[in-house]
Structures are given as C-alpha cells and as structure tokens.
C-alpha cells in the first residue's frame, strides 16, 4: 500500500476523515472528493490505485458513479453503504464494484479490505486461472487440469472445473450468483439457483478440509460466493 493513491468519495467530512486516518496510517496517499462529479474528474485525472466510494452522494447516484468509473478504469472500487439490503449489494457488484463495507465499520476492517483489493489488482489479470495454486495440502492446476489433496488425486467434473476456474480467476472478489451462473452455464436457462448450489456443494466437498466450515469458497449471504486467496 505505501505510496498508492487512494480516492475517497463521501459527502460527510467526518467519514472522509475516518477513512483518511485509516489509510494514511498504512502509508497510502489519500485524495478526497465530496460529490460524484468531482469523484469522476479526480479518478480520471489522478488514476488512483483504489477508490472508496460512498453510496449516498448529493449529486449523482453512487451506483452510476461506480458504473461510469468502471467503464474506463480497472482500479478496485470499495463501496461504503449504510443500508443492509442484499439486492443493493448485488446491484453494486454487477455495476463493477469489487467489495463493499457496511457502516459502521472498524478501521481495521477497512484496512484489510483495501489491502486485499490492492494485492489482487496487482496480480496479472486472470493469473488465478492459469497458475498452479498450492493451499495447504491442496494443489490445484487449473490448466491441466488436476487437483491433488495430500497424496491422492481428486476427480472434478467438467462443470465443477468450470466453476472452480471462474472463482480462481476472480479470487478475492465476490461473484454474484448471476455472474457465476453466466460464466459456467452461459446464457442457458434453468434453475440457476439450484444448479449453482449443487455444484458449490460438490466442489466444497472435494477441496475443503471441512465442507461445513469452508475456508476457500466463502458464502456471501444473499449475494454470491468468493474464493479466498489467503484463507
């Protein structure tokens, strides 16, 4: 994080102050905007490494700011929200946000999320889907493809590999049910929810040490799933 430019967008000066304190203590350089218009201009001019975006802006809907910036920037966007609605979270992720934090949050929580997003964005795009990954006694080779758990090889079906590759490709980022289903099943119709859950369960049973205490494929309730690249 040292030296990274982080753009903080919030109309509340107190919140900007809290976020600034949390991030400067991590040696990030913080620039601030109090409304959506300024946020888009600053993001274009300064090309920040990461954006912390509040949803309740006075001029432009936070969701639209998110979409606008995402259309030309790949910098991770972390959204701050005072509401708890899952539909809102899904809409944000679909609009291109990478993560969200619900108010009130603790500075430690924010720092951890920012670190994780910065690390993820520094990886070559789609690296997760081509590199051999070793987590504990688990060795995943998504290209070959092969999966080893300790000494034994574990068989994954085609669909299961597709699902695992999609999650690995976006490791550290929450994918909505819709995004996952499209990536694995394309535009086919069918009971999306049911297929997805059946296959998440079977992949978990094959890669997790304890499938009811998943540490690799994490559930975001009401939103989607995330592969933890540093469980």
């Amino acid at each position: 994080m040292p030296g990274d430019v982080v753009l903080v967008v919030d109309d509340e000066p107190q919140i900007r102050r809290v976020v600034r304190n949390a991030l400067t203590s991590e040696n990030a350089r913080v620039i601030e905007a109090a409304n959506g218009r300024d946020a888009i201009d600053l993001a274009a001019a300064e090309r920040p490494a990461l954006i912390v975006l509040d949803l309740g802006l006075p001029d432009i809907q936070g969701l639209d700011v998110c979409r606008e910036i995402r259309s030309w920037s790949s910098a991770p966007i972390i959204v701050l929200s005072a509401r708890h609605s899952d539909q809102e979270k899904v809409a944000l992720l679909d609009a291109g946000a990478d993560d969200y934090i619900t108010k009130p949050f603790s500075p430690g929580e924010l720092q951890a999320r920012v670190r994780a997003q910065l690390r993820r964005s520094r990886l070559a795009p789609a690296a997760g889907a081509t590199q051999v990954i070793t987590i504990g006694e688990l060795v995943i080779d998504p290209v070959k493809p092969s999966l080893k758990k300790g000494d034994g090889a574990v068989h994954l079906t085609k669909t299961e590999w597709e699902l695992l590759r999609t999650l690995l490709k976006h490791a550290g980022r929450t994918l909505t049910h819709q995004q996952l289903f499209r990536a694995v099943w394309g535009n086919s119709s069918g009971d999306m929810q049911q297929y997805l859950r059946v296959h998440i369960r079977s992949v978990r049973r094959k890669i997790e040490a304890d499938p009811v205490r998943p540490r690799l494929i994490v559930t975001e309730p009401g939103v989607g799933y995330r592969f933890e690249n540093e469980p």
Binding site: Q14, G56, H84, K103, P104, Q193, Y195, P211, V212
Partner: protein
C-alpha cells in the same frame, strides 16, 4: 289465477257510459227488429254477442254481464216467436237462448281474466323498472351514504310511512348508529332506536305495537301474519349480507302500519338494496381506514430507514475515532467502541422487527442448500460464541438437503439461535448445529446444554424483549428469538423450542423442503455439462 294481484284497475265507469252502452244495445235491437223477417237466430246471436264482447272489453265485467242479461231478454222478447212475450213457441229455441247467454258470460269472464293478467304483468314490470332504476341509482351515486338516503326516501314514499331509518350495525359489538333517516318519528325516535338495537342484537325482525309492546319474529312468519296482529306502530328488520347483520332498517307510522302483500314484497326488495348500501358504506369506511394505516406504515418505514441511515453515519465516526484512541492505550475508548456496536445491533434489529411486522421479512425466497447455510452460520457465529465450541453435524453421505427459503434471512435466524444457545449454556459446553430432512420440512436444529425452557415460557420467549425468569443478565437486545421466529413464519415455516434429553433445550427452525431426487441422479451420472439446462 288468484286475486292476489288485485282486480284490473279501472277508473269507475261513468253513468253516461253505462247509458251509452244500453242505448247502443237498444239501437241494435231496434235496427234488427225493423228487418226481422229477413233475419234468423244466428244473425241475432252474432249481433248481440258483438255488442256484449265489445262492452266487456271496454267497460269491464259488470257491464259485459249486464249487457248479456238485457240482450238475453231482448232476444227472447223480439226475435223468438211468439214475439212480445218471454214464452217460447219452439222449445228448441231455449237451446239457442241458453247457448247465447252462456257464450256471453264466458267471453266476458275470459276477457276479464286476460285483462287482469295483463294488468298484473304491467304492474310487475313497472315495479321491476322502479327497483332496477333505484338499483342503478344506488350503485352510481358517488358517495355511499347518498345511495342509502335515496333508498330510504323511496321506501318511505312508496309505503307512505312517517319515518324510515337505516342504522349501521357493528359486526363485533352489535352497537348501532343511524346513517340516514327520512321523515320524523317525533317523540318515538328513542323507541325506534331501542327496537333497532334489539333487532341488531337478535338478527331477527321485530314489531312494536301501538300500545308500546314489542314482539320478536320467532318463526319468520311475522311479516306474513302482520294483518292478523294488533295495530303495529313500527317495524325493524335486520339488513343482512352473506348471513351477516350489517345494519337495521326501521320503519314507523304513528297511525299504524298496514302492509299489503305487494307492499311487503316491495319492502323486501328495497331492504336488499338497503343492505347492499350499508355494506358499501361499511366497506368505504374500512378502505379509508386501511389507506390511512398504509400511509402510517409507509411513513414509519421511511422514518426507520432514514433513522438507520442517519444513525449509522455518526456511529461510523464514533466507532472509528474510539478505535484510534483505544489504540493509543485508553481503555475507556474501547468501551465506547463496544457500545457503538451495541447501538448498531439494536438499530439493525429494530429494522428487522419492522420488516417482519410489515410482511417483508423474506423477500428473496429461492432454492437453497442446507450445508451452504451451515457453513455461513459457522462463519458468522464465530465471534459470538464466548469461547464455546460450535459442533456442526452433517454426515458426509447425507443426500442433498434443499429447501425453499431466503438465505440471508434464514442465516440471520440461525445465527440468532446459535447466539442465544451460547448465551444460556454453561461455559465449556458446546453448542450443536445440525440440518436434516423431515418429510416436507428442512430442519435447522440448534441444541444447547443450558437450563432449558420451562413449559410455561416456551411461547413467551419468542415475544420481543422477553427475558427468561431467573436468567442471568446475558446482555443483548432481547429481540433475537422473536426476529428468528418472525423470519421462519414469513418463509412459511416454524420455530419451536423443546427440552433436550439430558438437559438443555433444542430450537428447531423448519422451512419448506424441496425434493432433490432428480438433481441427485443427474449429478451421479458422472461427467458432462450436467445438469442439462432445460
């Protein structure tokens, strides 16, 4: 037909008309007498019949019969030999005379009947017309009360009453209140209201006689027998819609109510309209009440949403600054941060309760898998177990457990149950979490080794803010269990508590299960792009 419909209504036939008809008969007689040699009995019969029938048709039965009698005598006197006497030369001519008389009387009678029937039909048609237009009027009037006012004034004028009142009757308390009144009962208004209250309570018609005594309808014959009763001053009858008494119609005449069968029929029909009118008044009032309530609900939701938003923003600042200060070594700041968290939890739970109360607790019901929920619950409960172990029991050979529920909300309910279990069980005792199928239900079961819940408290612990008797001060908001139950019910499921064998309690949350046999099979079929999208 019977005479029930009344005789054909005629203006009384004037003296001059009678004279005219008799004159016509004499002119015909005189004319025929002049050419008597050229006529036989048939000509005479036909001419007289013509006069009698036209007379019957125009003047009615009495005129027809009178004309027939006179024609009979004239026939005998002037056209049957010997002329000028009532005796007959040829006895066969009695047959001619008899046939003539019979035919005249019969035709007069038949014409009378036909006319009477036509008249009744016309009357009925007019009555139906009146009711139909009243009905249309009733339905078209802008305000429900105005329709009732129209009905009441029609009842009063068509039955020539002193007074007609419609009361609204509360279906629960049976209390009545007048909605509309036509005419004036004067000093008897209080007596009428008393009678109406009696009717509202009993749901039966009642009469009040001129001497002040009242009689309740025992066998539904009271109206039919009204002409046999002593003089009736007032009548009140229940207005019913779908067997519910919604109001009372009361009519009164200080000189006595005399109702004919036809009038009772009119009263029946109009009472029906009055009942519909009262029901409409009631429904309009109810709709207005509901609209006001909905407005209040909306306002409450808006207030709650903005309160939660406006509370969370400063809470974020408080929490963050307290955190910074606490890092500097001030313990008091850590307390501030904890309290900020508590306040936040409280706000969230108040919002949950309000969502449950407004029926929006489970808005995202989908097919979900049980193991997924258990995993998420373990993750979320991690910081709230106060050092206790959370044991999760799912056999690895367990078939797919699918249910239809709102994942995020059910997770909240299960985490609340885990938290509750951790709160009440002794330190070191594990909390157990399991999922299993029970017929058409998917069960999430949370068990603890706490003190258990006494029989009499098993329902009360689900009430908001209820605290178990003799329980230690365990903190929290006292809302967790009631929120959990609200969520279960919003999903069409249930949440119950039972005692656990060997001590402690078992909370069972059930949601509708989904049969997964087909999915299971397609998964076991091995590789490929299974399950094939339909």
């Amino acid at each position: 037909m019977s005479d029930e419909g009344g005789s054909p209504r005629r203006r009384g036939l004037g003296v001059w008309e009678w004279v005219g008809w008799f004159a016509l008969l004499f002119v015909v007689t005189w004319g025929m007498a002049a050419i008597r040699p050229r006529l036989n009995e048939a000509h005479v019969t036909l001419a007289y019949l013509l006069v009698v029938q036209i007379g019957s048709a125009r003047g009615g039965r009495p005129l027809g019969l009178s004309l027939a009698a006179i024609a009979f005598i004239c026939f005998d006197l002037f056209f049957l030999p010997p002329f000028g006497t009532l005796t007959l030369q040829d006895p066969l001519n009695w047959l001619v005379l008899g046939a003539f008389l019979l035919t005249s009387i019969l035709s007069a009678q038949l014409l009378y009947r036909a006319q009477a029937e036509a008249e009744t039909a016309r009357d009925r048609a007019a009555e139906i017309d009146r009711l139909a237009s009243l009905g249309a009027e009733t339905l078209n009037v802008g305000r429900a009360e105005e329709a009732l006012t129209a009905i009441v004034s029609v009842i009063r004028s068509s039955l020539r009453l002193d007074e007609c009142t419609v009361y609204l009757s509360d279906p629960m308390t049976r209390a009545i209140q007048p909605i509309t009144r036509s005419g004036d009962a004067g000093a008897e208004t209080a007596a009428d209201a008393e009678l109406a209250q009696l009717v509202a309570g009993e749901g039966r018609t009642a009469l009040q006689f001129v001497d002040g005594t009242t009689q309740l309808d025992a066998d539904e014959r009271i109206l039919a027998d009204i002409d046999k009763s002593p003089r009736v001053r007032a009548l009140a009858r229940p207005l019913q819609v779908r067997d519910r008494t919604v109001g009372v119609l009361s009519i009164a005449n200080s000189n006595g109510l005399a109702l004919s069968a036809a009038q009772i029929r009119v009263l029946d029909a109009l009472s029906y309209y009055a009942a519909l009118g009262v029901e409409r008044v009631r429904l309009v009032a109810e709709a207005q009440r509901a609209a006001v309530l909905q407005e209040a609900h909306k306002a409450k939701d808006a207030v709650l949403a903005s309160v939660s938003h406006d509370l969370r923003t400063p809470l974020t600042t408080i929490k963050a600054l307290a955190h910074e200060i606490a890092e500097g070594g001030d313990d008091r700041a850590a307390v501030i941060e904890e309290e900020a968290d508590r306040l936040n939890l409280f706000v969230a739970q108040m919002l949950d309760l309000s969502r449950i109360a407004s029926g929006a607790a489970a808005s995202d019901i989908q097919p979900n898998e049980a193991e997924d929920l258990l995993g998420a619950a373990v993750q979320q409960a991690a910081g709230r177990l106060h050092g206790r172990e959370l044991r999760v029991a799912v056999a690895s050979d367990e078939p797919l457990l699918f249910g239809r529920f709102d994942f995020a909300q059910t997770l909240r309910a299960v985490v609340n149950l885990i938290e509750n279990a951790a709160k009440y069980s002794a330190a070191g005792e594990p909390v157990e979490l399991a999922a299993r199928r029970d017929d058409q239900w998917l069960l999430f079961v949370v068990s603890d080794r706490g003190p258990g819940v006494p029989e009499e408290e098993r329902e009360r612990i689900f009430e908001p803010f209820y605290r178990r008797s003799g329980s230690p001060d365990v903190g929290g908001t006292g809302l967790g269990l009631s929120i959990a139950r609200g969520i279960a019910e919003a999903e069409g499921g249930r949440l119950d508590v039972a005692n656990r064998e060997g001590g402690g309690s078992v909370f069972t949350l059930r949601v509708p299960a989904i049969a997964t046999a087909d999915l299971q099979r397609s998964l076991q079929l091995g590789d490929g792009r299974e399950p094939a999208p339909s």
